[in-house]
Subunit: 506 residues, 4 copies
């Protein structure tokens, strides 16, 4: 780890697959051998071969990533700053528009619901960040269904009950929460804001919610813990189990040391999802439109698959849970359960709960929404006398209104997780945005519980929701197939320009 | 209550939260202490601090409001008119457009159905008034569902019956009505027309319908009673029960004195709803877009909640109904029942009826329509032998066609209430508009009963409607979520501009 | 009945409600006393008071109408042609556009299905004619449902059957028909073409279909009979029963004399429907936009109702059918049956059949489609052993494809009626248009029967259609309510201009 | 078969129905007598009467077609090339646009799913080719339903299973396939690319899929066999049974000689379908708009029906299958089965399987999708203990995602066929396009199986799919009827321009 000073012009010569050096935070690394293992593909690194990659590197890698993944000898030394040509940073049209949009940002108080943060974020996020955050698997049918499913549940409100005082506080895995809502884990938080996940930590602490820390955070785990606003602030941790169990053990130990109160093991992502909106924006980003690159494409995707298998173990199975319980005393919850059969099995094993979830619609398209699965899970747990406060049910995906949370609670859930909307909130407004979002949810929740006639969460009984339509999936016509089909024409020509279809025009 | 004459320049100095005077109808009041209790928030008063607030005050406060809510010493005297600077009233673009639209108002006879009044009113109402009248809770799903639900009921018309003479007169709580339709209570009637609720009184009297007088009227209760067109004209009264029962008793006594024939106790609004369309127009109104006002926003909403609790008692419960029966001989009807359980309880208590209603979709989103609830209420009342003319069922929400009323009657209702459409009718055309609307309903009703083969309302039996689809809620894609989602893109670009989504553009 | 010659200037003085003369085909009539009885309202006559009304009169009155409805002394004599000022007929923009569209009329062979005739007719019909033909009752929900309902029936085609020869000939009330399709009765045929209903007679004769002659034809009954292309051509007659039974008997006797083979008694129109599209175009037509005319409107509609009752008897009941059977030997069919209860009653009475129909969606909105009713009628007739070839079931409404007819036949109908599409066909192309439409249906029918594996209509068994979804009504969002509702807005403004909503704009 | 040299000017004189000569590849043929038998109608031939028809002839006729269909004496000799005037080929606007689009063709790697090939192909195909490939029967309801039906099936994924290794190889009729997907037969492959079906052969060979060779290929059968990329490459053959059984026997024998491994007998096309989109483009092509041609139209269609019966026998029945089995040892599969009754019969006869298919929605509109039929077929086969690997079930129609194939396999199918998407792939990119499409499907399949928790196809059990909604057909509003209906208007005019409706405008 020498303090060797390297000339930038020398570094610039290592700009190929054969020899690839990059500068990050003034330090020079030889990443030639690492290229095929890069989870994002080698192409994106080669773009910065021989150059300063700091700006591109920062938002998507937590501090220490390079050090942890490269052998010590790959660190070659510091770059001599005087030799580094200051590249005139190109200001793109998109940059200009975003700057302008930021100047015209609506007042925070104009955001009246969680959808608003989404439309505001759309204005201030780079296209790449927006695509990463907002995209879902394949035709995004499941992503939409997550939200739509709540719309198939209606209330049966009761009248003439004393609703002067409303109390929606609750307890998750024995930890207090001001609401039956928690902040669920989402990846790459710095794409939206330089402080990344810490925005969520601050808002959660101030508003009394529990944050689930993601494995794939942009901030380091310790940074996120350090951001707690008070000592009693509770955090959970979301875990991807590594093929190398020792790595996982080390991570769990660190979480316990930092006082994490619950372990959410992701079980719905043995392979990371493929989101086409996200992929399309990358093509736009590169700008070139050269034919005959199909082979490269194939190679790259194989490389990604290989690389991923190093930190998510696709062979993880029920047997591994015994080992997991042996290495921690934290309550263990399976995140990503999608059938009653697996929920029952988790309950029978004595786990602490399950998150009924499809990963925000980002993994398997046409998997069902968590809220729909909740219906069958509660039914089957009750039939086996396994429905109890000792085995908690969580739901995430599509929650946008406090009423969505209340529907889940009435059906038997302990709490629901919210992810994207809070990302959008801090992308536009920082931690205050997240706080405001939470306050909106609190105001909605107070109002709704009063109107439903349920002064506490215990009063929210199954009879208060009409779930008869819950299993009736409807695929709305925004999906790919409907983009492709043409309207019928008539004897006097096309009734209107074909919808969603590029036509032959000069 | 002196006749003291005050100099307007002196008044103008009391223009802050610390000391706030306002002029209304030439009288000067000190409202400093009242600021935090104002139901509409203190901000709106401060806008007029030290100034003449008459024009903004009038449409939303019945005469006498200030006097009833302020201690006598807060009235400081009359303003010296000679010192009052005539402010040049700004004529906005909106004002100009409305004036132009009024000149081009369609002839009344061009309004062929109740929807027409809505589109015409949209042209002549100020944006703020339109937003207040037309808005619903949250995503307005329930507001739309109210109307849509009627569309899931179809007729089974019978043929070859003598339908020469059609009679659709009926009796509500023992009072005659020319139709199974009444004018239900709605708030702030002067937003649409300077004569406010009196427009409804006049039309109701001339056309033989019963009007339900609202607690939150713009006109005073007595003004509305005074507007009756003949001595036999029947009115009902809609009641918000005040935390101070003495206030409520006084109101009830006055209603009895003025000959009101029925008391409709609102039970679905322990807290006044929050309508986002209405909130948004207010931001546009203020015009400023300053950051860091989020705290103010929070305070304001808390203030509103506190203030409201003074005139609507959120602790109102079934037990209070005994008291209510002890203070009046008027028949009592619960307005806002949303489950068969509560309807059965009301029947068992010996009340005179219930209005199955969700408050026009303005309170709890995803509550079901009154017409859907009617189905289960009739079934359960019959099962308990409680279905009888002594316990009448009313439905409001979404009624736009006489056929909607006929569907409700066939299912077991006595009558249906109509609110917004009559507001729209007089906003554009005054009392003649309301009369025309009622005449249209009468013409539709005569036609429909003839075509259904039911010469009187008694002939409208349950077998004449096909209600199998009634419970099948469909959320149409105008809701917030669908505004936010983007269409899928393709390899040759976006098929069309994203629908309902602001995009990054220069 | 003098040959008295009248000066046009003299006639022109009788131009008011007090004294109203009109000239039709050179003859002068005093219609002052007839004004209040005119089915179309007095307003439309007064427009031509003192003038030559021939051009407006002709398309909507069959020859002889005036003579039959006026006392002989109201005929005042012939107008002296030399005194008649030739009015320069104004050529409107619409006239010009229609002329241009006629020049660019698609070739008849470009019309590939029945929908094509509708879009072509839209181009060449006057707005008033289009509105009359294409409109339906109220929100046109039933009109759309008629067609949509067929879309809920799917085929279960069988394979490997010898389909070399396809035969779709059948027999209606004992009369041969080349297809299980007949031309049903529709009113005011000259609005689309000067030869009116005769176009249908010619095409029906040439193509071997049966035409049902309407009571409200533009051509006289005899003209339509005279237009038969060969001696064996079969016609049915649609009957409105007059309050004056002698008038009806006379009509029936004339029909028998002219060889009509079946009597279809309309039972779904005790009052003529009210169609708003049709009403709107009339306002555009008058051009004036004067306020305070609401009273006139009310009077007019009452007048219409009274007038109508003279030729359609709203007291017609089951008992009258005994009389009807006593005055004719023609088979009697009830047209407009909408429940199984009434169909069963008709079968029990020994009538020859029923047409399951809602009058093309022009009478009662939210009545169900004939094809849906067919399902329950067949079930209940079979349950009572009344399902037999001696009691034939017909369906009309929404038939646009031969496959629609095949679905009905598979379910148990003998034939289906088609109305509007043939009007559209001759409006654009005369009798050849109707022939082409029928030929298209024949080609579709041959193709479809071959593909279904049913070489004859007898082979079309109930198992060949999947009708499970038939009762699932869906109201598509073209209806009035959805025209009125606005999309939700967002923190960054309206996602797009409100759909279907005029907004305040300068 | 003389080498006689003919003068082009002489040939040009035979340009009428009375004497019609055409030049194809330099050879002159007398086709006068063949005109009425031409499957595409005589009109299209007469367009080239007396001229060189090579360019129009080539893409839609496999080599040898003329020789096989004409008597030897109809070959008149070679044209003298020196006498042939080189016609300046007109470069149309469409040609220019397609050339431009081809220059801007997206990179192959930008095609992320099978829908992409469709939108890209739309850019580079001639309108006529696009219309032929993309069209469906009548209102294209079934064509859309084919895809939509898959959207009514949702997954029930299982967690914590070892999904390190995914294997989706399988066996079709005893032949290995890398995926449970095969390339199904489609007609006229050269419309999209000069190498026609050979593109599919090459890609199938390289990617390990099985291709089904169509009877109506643009390439000759032998050309397609010759294009195999290795000796083990497997091909199936799709057969239309000729009225002349000897012709069919000869074809079968040739298929066996060339090593074809399975015979798919088309049973859903006793008559070739009629697709209106395809017919409309032909009218645009001719350019003339002359009236009075209706008779010609009728003749032509009759001619076509007659002509077709020569190579597809509409009398084919179950009995003929005994003969078929007697002339080949290839496994026989019925292609186009649409009910469980016929599938059971095929199983009882001992055939090797059925393809549940509606011919890509190109034959009978409102026939159900193969995937829906699969549900009932498996149920009924199981009830009769006929569900076994010896009787394989295939499904085609609407498959666009690997998940569609997995849904079919989970329900009991062996494999699914894909047609149009591969045509689109090679139309834009040649065989590499098809390969890329297959690679995308493989990547999707690996991902999906991992996420479903099914490492092999055997692990895909029925419990992994939720098919409760499968029978709920929804007709989306792109169909003809909805193109024709107008939105309701209002008192202030039309809310927006009528949708899907040409209006009278100047």
């Amino acid at each position: 780890m020498s303090g060797k000073l390297l000339n930038a012009e020398e570094v610039a010569k290592h700009n190929s697959e054969q020899s690839c050096h990059v500068i990050v935070h003034g330090k020079v690394y030889d990443v030639t051998e690492f290229l095929p293992d890069h989870p994002g593909g080698k192409g994106i690194i080669l773009k910065y071969a021989g150059k300063d990659a700091t700006e591109a590197y920062d938002p998507i890698h937590p501090p220490g990533t390079l050090e942890e993944n490269l052998a010590p000898e790959k660190y070659l030394g510091e770059v001599d700053q005087s030799t580094l040509k200051k590249e005139e940073k190109e200001v793109t049209e998109e940059d200009k528009q975003i700057a302008k949009n930021k100047e015209n940002l609506p007042m925070l108080s104009q955001c009246l619901n969680l959808y608003d943060f989404e439309v505001v974020a759309r204005q201030v996020l780079k296209g790449t960040a927006w695509a990463y955050y907002s995209s879902g698997a394949d035709d995004e049918v499941t992503m939409r269904e997550n939200n739509t499913a709540f719309g198939r549940i209606w209330f049966r409100p009761r009248i003439l009950r004393d609703v002067s005082n409303i109390d929606f506080s609750t307890s998750l895995l024995g930890q207090k929460s001001k609401m039956p809502i928690y902040i669920t884990a989402t990846a790459l938080g710095k794409l939206g804001h330089p402080d990344g996940e810490k925005n969520l930590t601050i808002a959660a602490g101030k508003e009394g919610l529990i944050q689930m820390i993601p494995t794939l955070a942009s901030c380091s785990f310790d940074e996120i813990c350090d951001a707690r606003v008070h000592e009693q602030q509770v955090q959970f941790f979301q875990l991807y189990v590594n093929s190398n169990r020792a790595v996982t053990e080390k991570i769990i130990r660190r979480a316990e040391e930092r006082g994490v109160k619950g372990l959410f093991v992701t079980v719905d992502a043995p392979q990371l999802g493929r989101r086409e909106k996200d992929m399309r924006i990358k093509f736009e980003d590169t700008g070139s439109r050269v034919q005959n690159d199909s082979k490269d494409d194939v190679d790259r995707s194989q490389g990604a698959a290989r690389a991923i298998s190093s930190f998510i173990d696709p062979s993880l199975s029920w047997d591994d849970l015994h080992w997991l319980r042996s290495v921690t005393r934290m309550p263990i919850v399976l995140k990503g359960v999608q059938t009653w059969e697996d929920a029952v099995r988790a309950a029978e094993m004595g786990l602490s709960g399950v998150v009924l979830s499809n990963h925000g619609g980002r993994q398997l398209d046409f998997s069902r929404s968590g809220i729909e699965i909740l219906g069958e899970v509660v039914r089957e747990l009750k039939a086996r006398k396994l429905f109890s406060p000792m085995f908690q049910l969580f739901v995430d995906g599509g929650v946008r209104r406090a009423s969505d949370a209340l529907k889940a609670v009435a059906m038997g859930a302990t709490a629901v997780g919210i992810g994207r909307p809070f990302l959008y909130a801090y992308s536009a407004y920082g931690p205050e945005g997240v706080q405001h979002a939470i306050q909106l949810l609190k105001a909605e929740m107070e109002m709704n519980m009063r109107l439903i006639g349920a002064p506490t969460l215990k009063d929210l009984v199954p009879e208060m929701v009409d779930t008869r339509a819950l299993n009736q999936h409807v695929v709305f016509p925004e999906t790919s197939a409907n983009t492709v089909y043409e309207r019928m024409s008539t004897a006097v020509g096309s009734p209107d320009e074909p919808v969603g279809k590029p036509v032959v025009k000069l």
